[in-house]
C-alpha cells in the first residue's frame, strides 16, 4: 500500500497555465473512471493500476527512450524488405503470381473498391510506418527543448494512430489466405513474410516499450532557465 507521497515536488510538465494548485496532493486521475490518485508514475518495472476500475494508468519500462529509439529504427529498416519482397507466392499449372504489401491494395483500387483499398492501405502500411517514424522522431527530438511543440504533436498523433496499425491482424489474414488457397494451387511463403513477421514483433515490442510520461519528463528536464532540471515531472521516472 503506497502512501501519498506528499513530499514530492509539484508536478510541472506544465510551465505556464493550468498548473495544479500547490496545495493539492492529487497527481493523476484515472482516465476511465475519474478517480483521483496520489501517485503520478509507477516505479521502474511496475505497472500502476486504478484501484477502483482496474484501468492501467502507467507502465514504467526500463530505459524506455533508448529501447523505443532502437526498435523504431529497426522497424523502419525492416519495412524496406517487407514492402518490396513478395509475401506469398501462388502458382497454378504454369501460372504464377505473388503478393506484396502494396499490390493487394493496387488490385482493389483497380477493381473500383477505392474505400476498401484506402482502409487496407492505411491499416497495413501507412499507420505502422507512421508509428515507427513518429516514435523515431519522438525519441530523438525529445532531447531538445526547442522541439517540444513538434514532439508534443507527434506524441498526440502517435496515440491516435496506435490502434490503427494492424500488422498482427494482417498476419492472421495471411495465414487464413495461405490455408484457404492451399487446396486450389501451390502456395509458397515468400522471403518478405519473414521480414513481415519480424516487423510485426518489433511493432508490438515498441508499443510496449514506449512511455509518454518519460518523454514529458525528459522534455521538462531540458527546460532552459534558472529552474532547469528541477521541474522534472516526477522523480520516479528515470531517463
Amino acid at each position: 500500500m503506497a502512501q501519498s507521497p506528499a513530499t514530492q515536488p509539484p508536478t510541472s510538465g506544465q510551465p505556464e497555465t493550468g498548473s495544479l494548485p500547490a496545495a493539492t496532493h492529487w497527481r493523476r486521475a484515472c482516465h476511465q473512471c475519474d478517480l483521483l490518485l496520489t501517485r503520478q508514475a509507477a516505479p521502474v518495472g511496475c505497472k500502476l493500476l486504478c484501484p477502483r476500475c482496474g484501468a492501467s494508468q502507467h507502465r514504467n519500462m526500463e530505459r524506455s527512450i533508448a529501447h523505443t529509439a532502437a526498435l523504431s529504427v529497426s522497424g523502419l529498416l525492416l519495412f524496406i524488405p517487407t514492402a518490396t519482397l513478395p509475401l506469398l507466392e501462388f502458382s497454378l499449372f504454369t501460372f504464377g503470381a505473388e503478393n506484396t504489401l502494396m499490390n493487394g491494395v493496387q488490385a482493389l483500387f483497380e477493381a473500383g473498391y477505392i474505400w476498401l483499398a484506402c482502409i487496407v492501405l492505411f491499416c497495413s502500411v501507412l499507420a505502422p510506418l507512421g508509428k515507427f517514424l513518429l516514435l523515431a522522431f519522438i525519441s530523438w527530438g525529445s532531447a531538445w527543448w526547442r522541439l517540444r511543440k513538434p514532439v508534443a504533436k507527434a506524441v498526440r498523433w502517435y496515440l491516435h494512430l496506435q490502434e490503427w496499425g494492424m500488422l498482427d491482424v494482417y498476419m492472421l489474414g495471411i495465414l487464413v489466405a495461405l490455408v484457404k488457397m492451399s487446396d486450389l494451387g501451390k502456395m509458397e511463403v515468400g522471403p518478405g513474410l519473414y521480414c513481415f513477421v519480424a516487423m510485426m514483433v518489433v511493432a508490438s515490442a515498441v508499443q510496449v516499450s514506449f512511455d509518454p510520461e518519460v518523454v514529458w519528463a525528459r522534455l521538462a528536464r531540458r527546460r532552459p532557465g534558472p529552474d532547469a532540471g528541477r521541474g522534472a515531472a516526477s522523480p520516479e521516472v528515470e531517463q
Binding site: L35, S124, V169
Partner: protein, 234 residues
Amino acid sequence: MNRPARALSQGLWVCLSCRQLIDPPKGAGSCLCPRCGARVHPRIEGSVMLTWALTITGALLLIPANILPVMTVIYLGSGEPSTIIGGALELYHAGLWGIALIVFVASIAVPVMKLVGLVMLCLIVQLRLDVSPRQAMRVYRVVNAIGRWSLLDLFMISILVALVDMGAIAEVHAGPGSTAFATVVVVTMFAVRAFDPRLVWDMVAARERETLSAQDAARPETAPDTQNNHTENG
C-alpha cells in the same frame, strides 16, 4: 465514510491524450492541455449521442455486409459469390474447422458482440440502469480490445485478389459486401472511441449521493484522507 474523490467534483480535468491532471480556467467549457496541446473537455462532448449515432450506423450497415457477397472465387470457369457466413461455412465443410472458427469469430461474432456491447453501455448510461460499474467496464474493455480483429477478412480478401489473378483459370474478385463490412468495422471503432466510460462512474456517484442525501441531508461531502494506489509487477 470513505468515498472516492472524483477529479470533476474537485474541479480538475484529465487530458485524455497525455493523461495529465489539469486545473481548468474558471468557467471555461474546454481548454488546451498545457503539456501536449490537445483540447480537453471535462467529459467527451456529446459522448452518448455520438456513440448511439455511430452504433446505429454500424448496425444498419451490418445488414448489407452480411447479405451482399464479399468475395467471388472463380476456379476453372465456375464459382459463385459468397457472403461472409458462406465463406466461413465453406471452410468448415472443407474440413478446415480451425480456420473456419477464426473467420467466424473475427467477422461475425466480433462485430455483433461489439454492437451489442455498445448498445448495452449506452443504455446503462442513458437509462441509469442498476448495473455494477465494474461489469460495465468489463464490457467496455472487451469491446475496445476486440474491435480491430474484424478487419481480418478484408485483409484476406485484399491478399487473395492480388494473388489469385489468372484470368479464366482462377480468379478472386471482391464483392460489394466487403465495402459495407469495412465501414462497419471503422464506424464501430470510432463509436468505442466516442464513448466516455467515466459517465458510468458519474452515474454511480450521483446514485450514491441520492441515497446519502435520503439518509442524512445534513452530512457534508467528505473527501477521503488517503487513496491507495495499487502497484503490480508487470
